[in-house]
């Protein structure tokens, strides 16, 4: 049985992201002229509820049996559109995307005409492939009702408790001897000024005594294999090596504090130049006394240096660790380019704590930009009321620190309002430094196949839509492993990651991609090459013929390319489907009305 493709094309303006560069109405008119296209329209945001509704309506009204969306990247939005197709009664594999944002309008913003021409090509290619698509059925996999949580800081502990309380088995591993991560090293938390121990200690106790949590300290993750629903993690700890089988993984391995290089603001040279962390420590021990003046400097090692991809051109892989060491060393000198978001509140907190124990101490906070969001505005006002002085200095001319003959520190900076030089004699200079990625974060990310962002932190699958998911199904991120967060934000992300993982484990089953290999018995000569090259052991020669077990197949397609008798095809990526795009690009006149098998 066969049917004629009836393709609907939906072109997204993405606000001004696409529409501001390429001519979207022109693309729409162009799409209408393409073979097999029976309907085309453009939307302000195709991914919005309104946009999705128009897809559903068009499928029904125009009897569409193929849908093409020309918008952003399929890596983030394909699932959303596929789900809409499914809801509208269309097999989700009869859907194709053209990426006219990330790979067109965003990279050709100064060449609108050429970008429009390219977008037409991309749409034509997607339409050509869509015409040849076939419906697929997704195999289901069992999800083991156990989770591995890597890192027992506040985020990991929160996630572990949340899943354990829902009845799931949790393996919680921590590389240090003690639990609590960065949180347990803090003194007081902003804005409540509660002891951090009041927050973290009960959680640590709860984790230790929870029947569903198997806690392993001084334990490292050595390797991970498997896939969503069924991961095998190799652990190494004081009791030797161990393997655990889990359905999901939550990475909550935390972050580190930036230590300034020796000599930056005389750090490491003058004793009384310290970091906020060190001031924290002194406050905790009550060692700060009643100094006359403390000067704090913000953004030390943060919002400095160039923003550039965190590029590890590691080739061969054995050099990665060495290259990573070099990158981190360079960053230590140059600073990190992002705002660490917690340092302003942290400085305000410590200023208030000093003022409360020693009201006569004058505190000056030198800042370039002060970022106090949500309720922290009140926290800032509280510091102002306590007469903490906030002085905005010219960032391009960093403060200079010298020591007077009396042994005091002199801080010289340029006031940004007057442009004039200001000088402060201080007993202590306190540097506010950022939270930075752990030195082995990249290595851990590689093991899990989770990408690293430009800031060196693990990257979420989508900043807005999937903030605790990663690009690896079944692997989630929580806490500072994906960027600076304060304690409450870490708890939020821990709960969120646990929620995401629990959905999978609670359902017991998850549908996996139908993009798998298929062997044609008639063409197969039983040479066994597929069996030999498959990393997952999916193909097996039975009675002289290759059989591919689709649940084991991960869909790379290597066997399809290697098979000498062309007996193996890849669902959704068949030769003629891939090549149709190339032909549509290069020989548009040859595009025809197609007839395709109807599954």
């Amino acid at each position: 049985m066969s049917e004629k493709p009836r393709i609907g094309v939906f072109i997204c303006h993405c606000g001004i992201n696409i529409g501001g560069v390429v001519n979207v109405p022109e693309l729409t008119e162009y799409a209408k002229t393409l073979p097999n296209v029976v309907y085309a329209e453009h939307n302000l945001y195709t991914c919005s509820e309104a946009g999705l509704t128009t897809i559903e309506k068009a499928i029904k009204e125009h009897n569409l049996n193929r849908v093409v969306v020309a918008s952003c990247t399929p890596r983030t939005h394909e699932p959303l559109f596929k789900a809409k197709c499914r809801e509208s009664g269309l097999n989700p594999y009869l859907f194709e995307m053209a990426n006219i944002r990330d790979q067109c309008s965003w990279v050709h913003m100064h060449e609108p005409e050429k970008a429009t021409k390219k977008a037409k090509d991309l749409i034509r290619m997607a339409v050509a492939k869509a015409a040849l698509l076939e419906p697929q059925t997704e195999p289901e996999v069992e999800v083991k009702d156990a989770s591995l949580v890597v890192g027992a800081g506040i985020a990991g502990i929160t996630a572990a408790l949340s899943m354990a309380n829902q009845g799931f088995k949790v393996y919680l591993i921590e590389k240090e001897k003690e639990l609590g991560g960065l949180t347990s090293k803090l003194y007081k938390l902003y804005p409540t000024l509660a002891d951090s121990s009041e927050v973290i200690d009960p959680l640590i106790e709860a984790v230790k005594s929870h029947g569903n949590i198997e806690l392993m300290t001084s334990t490292d993750l050595k390797d991970v294999s498997g896939y969503i629903g069924n991961f095998t993690a190799a652990l190494t700890g004081p009791d030797g090596d161990k393997e655990v089988n889990v359905g999901t993984i939550i990475v909550a391995s935390g972050a580190s504090n930036y230590t300034p290089p020796k000599g930056l603001y005389q750090y490491g040279i003058y004793d009384h130049v310290v970091t906020q962390r060190e001031l924290d420590e002194m406050l905790k021990k009550g060692k700060i006394g009643e100094p006359e003046r403390i000067v704090m400097i913000q953004c030390v090692g943060a919002r400095k240096g160039e923003i550039r991809p965190f590029e590890l051109e590691a080739f061969p892989k054995s050099d990665t660790a060495e290259l990573l060491r070099k990158i981190l060393k360079a960053r230590k000198e140059e600073g990190w380019p992002y705002c660490s978001r917690i340092c302003c509140m942290n400085a305000i907190k410590n200023a208030i704590l000093v003022k409360e124990s020693s009201p006569k101490t004058d505190i000056v906070v030198l800042f370039g930009d002060l970022r106090v969001y949500k309720e922290y505005e009140d926290f800032y006002k509280r510091a102002r009321d306590l007469e903490v002085r906030f002085v905005r200095h010219i960032e391009e001319a960093p403060p200079e620190i010298t020591r007077t003959s009396e042994g005091k520190l002199q801080v010289m900076a340029y006031d940004s309002l007057s442009g004039l030089e200001v000088k402060f004699l201080a007993d202590w200079v306190v540097l506010s430094t950022p939270i930075i990625p752990n030195k082995d974060e990249v290595l851990l990310a590689r093991m899990l196949k989770v990408p690293i962002g430009t800031d060196g932190f693990m990257m979420e699958a989508h900043l807005k839509l999937r903030p605790v998911d990663t690009n690896v199904d079944g692997v989630f991120i929580a806490g500072t492993v994906s960027g600076p967060k304060d304690v409450s934000e870490s708890i939020i992300s821990g709960e969120a990651a646990a929620g995401r993982a629990s959905i999978l484990m609670g359902n017991r089953k998850v549908k996996t991609d139908a993009i798998t290999a298929l062997a044609d018995e008639d063409l197969c000569v039983g040479c066994g090459l597929c069996e030999e090259i498959c990393p997952y052991g999916a193909p097996k020669i039975e009675n002289g013929k290759s059989k591919i077990r689709e649940i084991l197949c991960r869909g790379c397609g290597t066997c399809a390319a290697e098979c000498p008798s062309q007996a193996i095809t890849m669902r959704h990526y068949k030769d003629h489907q891939v090549l149709a795009q190339v032909k549509a690009l290069l020989m548009p006149a040859g595009m025809k009305e197609a007839e395709v098998p109807n599954g």
Binding site: H108, K117, K449, P451, T454, K583
Partner: protein, 152 residues
């Protein structure tokens, strides 16, 4: 060897090559996305065809693109050791040596085909690759088999 460039086209420097880039979903396609998110500009000459893994790329994918008139073909995958499917890119690397030979035998300049490793975090590298390749192919001139008809 087939000579594909007319001096005229070279002289006017108006030749805009069409380059087909087969990118794996996990690394290089993601790298191209990152170039977008980071707003790294590059020439408009490349058209990406997404496959799940470079391991999927049959030699005919490259050869047919050239036969159909592509001026250049890029195959981009994950760095060795970084393949989402463990070793698809190794298989591609082995295969690519044969592809290159075949391309040369047919009479194309071997520089028209390229195999590159681009990770999901290397948006800058992706943009640089497209800039560099476009310039190289522009120097080589159009594909001698080229029968492309400009779309309206």
């Amino acid at each position: 060897m087939v000579k594909g460039t007319s001096e005229e086209e070279k002289g006017q420097n108006k030749f805009e090559p069409v380059i087909v880039a087969y990118c794996c979903n996990w690394c290089s396609y993601a790298g191209a996305d990152l170039a977008g998110t980071s707003r790294f500009e590059y020439p408009t000459n490349v058209r990406i065809v997404r496959v799940m893994c470079t391991g999927r790329i049959d030699p005919t994918f490259v050869l047919e693109a050239l036969r159909d008139g592509a001026d250049g073909v890029i195959v981009a995958g994950c760095h060795p050791g970084d393949c989402h499917y463990q070793k698809g890119n190794f298989m591609m690397e082995k295969r690519f040596a044969h592809i290159k030979k075949a391309v040369e035998t047919i009479g194309f300049e071997p520089e028209r085909v390229k195999l590159e490793w681009i990770s999901a975090s290397e948006g800058g590298k992706f943009a640089a690759l497209i800039r560099e390749t476009t310039e190289q192919i522009r120097q080589l001139g159009p594909n001698p088999f080229r029968t492309i008809q400009e779309p309206k």
